[in-house]
Assembly symmetry: C2
Homo-oligomer: 330 residues x 2
Amino acid sequence: MNAGALDVVGIGNALVDVLSHGTDGLLAELDLVKGSMNLIEADRVEYLYERMGAGIEVSGGSAANTMAGVASFGGMSQYLGKVRDDQLGAVFAHDMVATGVRYETPKASTGPSTGCCLVLVSPDAQRTMSTYLGASSLFGPEDVDADAVASGTVLYLEGYLFDRPEAQEAFRKAARVAHDAGRIVSVTLSDSFCVQRHHDAFLDLVDHHVDLLFANEAEITALYGSDFDAAVDAVRRSGTVAALTRSEKGSVVVTGDALVEVPAHPVADVVDTTGAGDLYAAGFLYGFSRQMDLATCGALGSLAAAEVISHMGPRPEASLQELAGQILAD
Amino acid sequence: MNAGALDVVGIGNALVDVLSHGTDGLLAELDLVKGSMNLIEADRVEYLYERMGAGIEVSGGSAANTMAGVASFGGMSQYLGKVRDDQLGAVFAHDMVATGVRYETPKASTGPSTGCCLVLVSPDAQRTMSTYLGASSLFGPEDVDADAVASGTVLYLEGYLFDRPEAQEAFRKAARVAHDAGRIVSVTLSDSFCVQRHHDAFLDLVDHHVDLLFANEAEITALYGSDFDAAVDAVRRSGTVAALTRSEKGSVVVTGDALVEVPAHPVADVVDTTGAGDLYAAGFLYGFSRQMDLATCGALGSLAAAEVISHMGPRPEASLQELAGQILAD
């Protein structure tokens, strides 16, 4: 691995989250499948928002949350993703920079408003997401800052990008630039429905174009159409390093010749699981980019995930660098 | 007292809060007096926002928080205050209606953006506020919905309105309409600096135009230029009922012939004092509009304040009606 000036460069859909509590009854009434991510259009946003309770607005976006997490560990990260020059776009950009993430993607000055994700948090802390891509859907290959990508030890890409051909193209361009510069390319599968929508493309990606894969149990089993153990065997044969998360069962990190089981970090009170996967990736990527061993990478992931699910919102409230003090000292 | 179709009608500056954590060092660096509310212009917003950490956006505004609290108790409330037809204005309006507050003030379609309040929350849970009035400053006498005001058992007005002549005029119009309809007029002094800015007008108001006064220790002593005990004597002589809050010492409710001491409600962990006074007023007003005795009004105030300071943000997260179950059953 070839260390760059930045630890991690992430690309994804730039979104502001609107978080609200919602019962199972409300989910049913709104035709939402608990735990899923649905892409929606502007009129559906209006429909759902009118029926949601009072909310809190916080910057979100899967890879953006991950980059915020890397920065919270003290890592150098940059984020590429598009917002509009509107109020929520200003909030998104402010929060990235205030968190210590480099963020320079030009804002759109016309077209749809900044993307948003309506998040209903259930009493059992599960989150159900309805995403309006808005301006984030304008991100294309021309927004891939080749200098930035080439200077990151690890490139990190959202599977969600596969939902749009232009973003897929940006994805492929970024992966090419990273590999040409001798960098690591990592991908998260993002969502099991997203895997089903783009099944063959993802399989090809994992087999031929990706060095490091993040997935949860639902996503990896959807990818291989098998149970978890068979999926682990399949991903090991692919030669890709994979960090597979299993909620309270922790995670399993697999390579061609190793299998490392990582316990979950204890959490007194799980409040909102939004961002759990994003923050696991943040911890893992921070460790990986600094060449720590896989068990430590996983432990940092577990730690970051535990922090983010202990409160509302998809980004850390506490300094992950401070929380990780003991692990990093060992 | 003359019961209307609504329990409480509130008028104030409609704002979206941007909450962020800030150390005493940051406050000093930004020239902010801890615990105060400062009115700022657009360029100062930009300056401060750039220097603040990542934030969460939530609907705020003093009287708006109070009306949300009244609704959370199961009361019927209406709010009058102005936002623009922009993204944060939509958030504000959504949250009012979603909370169960009637809110019909027309949005401004030109002029400054929706007002905001930058709130720095210190490690000791104190909040320091910098307010950009924005579109809320366009609220004038023509926005006073006379039918709404006339139908509320109690009218509730923010002292902050005294910072603008147009809003003062709206304030006076609303008080006139309420009194003509046989309603109670209540006012909160809002902020000790606000009291100092409009000292003589507030004294005249309390002596001649207001039936029910809310103030904290700093505000009531600023009004009478005396210590707390002398201020209590002075307000009793004015004939106005006063609910005087004293943080962890609870509150004192005084009338011409009674003085009721109300203990604070216990709080395990004070996280953010934003909204404490607003929610005390909510509980008190709910009880008062339903003709409960003063001790119960105060107890409901203490309960609501305790709820809101136990988490980030200026509005209740739990149902105050449920929390108050025991008090209301007694």
